[in-house]
Symmetry: C2
DNA sequence: ACTTAGCGATAGTATTACTATTATATTTGC
DNA sequence: GCAAATATAATAGTAATACTATCGCTAAGT
């Protein structure tokens, strides 16, 4: 799978950057190091000044790539969802049976992220952790409607849409396919967070995975006839 | 119900404030106005300086009640969950039938919040909006483990625990009662957010409520036998 | 050889999130 | 009714943040 993916570029809304970070070594360094640093010190403590210091570049140079911190987060998380979408499509497109297809999709989305050597400057494992810890901060803002109009969340919404369609194929009678799809994506992040920080309010742990929990949830919800 | 509740004080971890805001007019003004302002301008744009100006008080006076902005958010959201817990217990404690009880609990948790005149300085409708938009920012931090140890999230976790117990009473065989309980609380907030900002990835709207969606989800999940 | 783009360096700004100190107003205890 | 304690206001100050603006160097393209 690795070699096959090499060279596939994840397309990000070009309003999210001033200059494409993939177009230069400095740009890739910004991406590479920002992932390491945000994961290490957290979004709130992360600054362009600190980032510049770490990559031996000037703060002002980073602003030539990203207008501000917020857009860097949108870029990183968009990349993550684009990468995830690519895996999702690749793993499911040849599956005919709707149920098998949906189960595969849930597996891809909810599983523990492992390293992907196809993108040398991006550590997907750490990026996944960043998404778990920081993604909601990218849309829980007063600017969300304006930014949504600009298409900043399009990849994420497209993923939810794909999942919704798979749910519909399994059970066309089910009333809440979009809500269930968005719940799957969001609960995955949440359950991963809970097992690391609030163990008492989740059943997920080293042996029980969010995949098992969500698979069970979806299967039972869709198989059930409308009742009660 | 209103008069009955009058005088019931929501108990908040006293490490969350320097001086109890309920103990003075200024304190209540801080709470009242911060709810209005955070709702209006959002958490990121909210500052103690602006708050002081609005209530005709000095910034430094606010610091006599809350050590910092973050603890104010923890206070407000703790109060909200305490208030919610109170309603939950009140509405369910006398119900014997486990299924009826759980359905009532889901209704309380997921329904649209309406005004509660028992707490004059707190606008519960706006506070609910703040919880939807800002609650996750209170725990998605690098300090979460330390703050969790201090008991800053105890009310929320207790609520999840109550819900988990009700789930267990309905179906003792179900493998993921804690995860399902945390999903219910979190998905409620998320679906409410989606219907206001990302309508394309939810089925909830003016006529379809998160209550209907989540009730259906839980009922079907718990009624189903373990299979497939 | 000339232009241009890319980057680094420096300086500067308004704002934030506080802390510290002093002064004044208010409450309370006697 | 007055002193003492307490609460609040006013002012000043700090380090850090999130930028913006300008300038100069350098290396690459034409």
């Amino acid at each position: 799978m690795d070699k096959l993916l090499q060279g596939v570029k994840i397309r990000i809304n070009d309003k999210l950057f001033v200059k494409d970070p993939e177009s230069s070594e400095l740009g890739k360094n910004i991406i590479r190091m920002s992932i390491l640093m945000i994961n290490e010190i957290g979004w709130e403590n992360f600054t362009f000044k600190k980032l510049g210091k770490q990559i031996g570049s000037n703060e002002s140079s980073i602003y030539r790539y990203f207008e501000n911190k917020h857009k860097l987060l949108l870029y990183l998380t968009s990349w993550y969802w684009g990468w995830m979408e690519y895996h999702l499509v690749l793993a499911t497109h040849s599956i005919g049976n709707p149920k098998v297809k949906l189960l595969k999709a849930i597996d891809i989305i909810t599983r523990e992220v492992i390293e992907d050597t196809a993108y040398l400057h991006i550590n997907e494992v750490l990026l996944n952790k960043i998404v778990i810890n920081e993604y909601s901060k990218s849309y829980l803002t007063k600017e969300v409607d304006a930014e949504n109009k600009e298409g900043y969340f399009i990849i994420y919404k497209r993923m939810v849409g794909r999942l919704r369609d798979m749910i519909k194929d399994v059970n066309p009678e089910y009333t809440y396919p979009s809500s269930l799809a968005s719940t799957i994506l969001e609960s995955t992040l949440h359950q991963h967070f809970l097992k690391d920080h609030f163990t008492s309010i989740t059943d997920c742990n080293a042996t029980v995975t969010p995949t098992q929990y969500l698979t069970h949830l979806v299967v039972n919800t869709l198989n059930q006839n409308v009742n009660e």
